[in-house]
């Protein structure tokens, strides 16, 4: 039987660790972090009101990121 394990292209964390981190992340939703997320989502949806706008924004941002990744600024 084929399962979702075929999707695994990245290193896993243990189920226990995943559950622990997820519980923490979901608990944050009741506090300031949750409000910040809601604000961020509202901004994104208002700035890019259509689904196509959002996809094109994400593509543009990914291209920008891939052009600059690996660039290390010498701190000296």
């Amino acid at each position: 039987m084929t399962t979702a394990r075929v999707l695994l292209d990245y290193p896993e964390i243990s189920r226990e660790e995943f559950d622990r981190r997820l519980a923490l992340a979901l608990a944050e939703l009741d506090g300031p972090e949750g409000q910040a997320l809601r604000d961020h989502i509202r901004w994104f949806r208002k700035r890019y009101p259509t689904a196509l706008d959002r996809l094109r924004y994400a593509r543009r941002k990914y291209e920008q990121w891939s052009k600059t990744r690996g660039i290390v600024v010498d701190p000296r």
């Binding site: 084929t2 075929v6 689904a51 996809l55 990914y62």
Partner: protein, 205 residues
């Protein structure tokens, strides 16, 4: 669908090395052919001249919508469509196991080449449509999270939501089912995605 290109895709030696190519028969039924033994037919040239290797998201969504395949957009592109600010480089699709040929035929128009035959894809549960874009295609009848929560395609398809993008109807799993798909592989990056989905489920307005 797109701008015409002067160079025929199939005349490229590098492309000729590709093992699998979808083409259409006179009845419109897709079939797989080996380029090394195939011929450069009018049908192939016509398909190849439709579009170059780089695509707009609109082209990709249209290919999905017009394929006639039962396709659910999953992964981060689904989150982006729903208005969640995340980044990704590929498309993740979950399709009905009987609809591989339909999807491949639609994406052949964009020069996206399957890396496995439909039979191999059914055996392994996934394949990739690759060329200008990377499109991961899951063809499993069902999948389970590590704690044993099973999600089968037919149920997810019944509960699907439809988002319109440029007049194209795109099918996504329900938010609850998307959260389940994010638990399949249980990677660290999935936690943030679930957090965003849960925020959306609780309401942002």
């Amino acid at each position: 669908m797109g701008s015409l290109t002067a160079t025929c895709f199939y005349a490229s030696p590098s492309k000729e090395r590709r093992r699998v190519l979808e083409s259409a028969t006179s009845r419109g039924t897709p079939r797989l052919e080996c380029l090394k033994t195939g011929h450069h037919t009018r049908e192939r040239a016509t398909m190849a001249e439709v579009k170059g290797p780089e695509h707009d998201d609109e082209d990709i969504l249209r290919a999905i919508a017009t394929s006639g395949a039962r396709v659910l957009l999953i992964g981060r592109r689904a989150l982006i469509l729903l208005g969640l600010p995340v980044q990704t480089n590929d498309y993740d699709l979950w399709i009905h196991i009987d609809d591989i040929d339909k999807l491949n035929a639609a994406f052949a128009l964009l020069d996206q080449i399957p890396n496995k035959t439909p039979e191999m894809a059914r055996q392994t549960g996934r394949y990739v449509l690759e060329n200008g874009e990377r499109i991961d295609v899951l063809v499993a009848r069902s999948a389970s999270t590590k704690d044993g929560i099973r999600l089968d395609f037919d149920s997810a398809w019944q509960r699907r939501q439809v988002v319109e993008a440029a007049g194209i109807a795109v099918a996504l799993p329900s938010i609850a089912d998307l959260i389940t798909t994010k638990k399949w592989s249980a990677r660290a990056k999935d936690i943030g995605d679930i957090q965003l989905l849960e925020t959306l489920r609780r309401g942002v307005d």
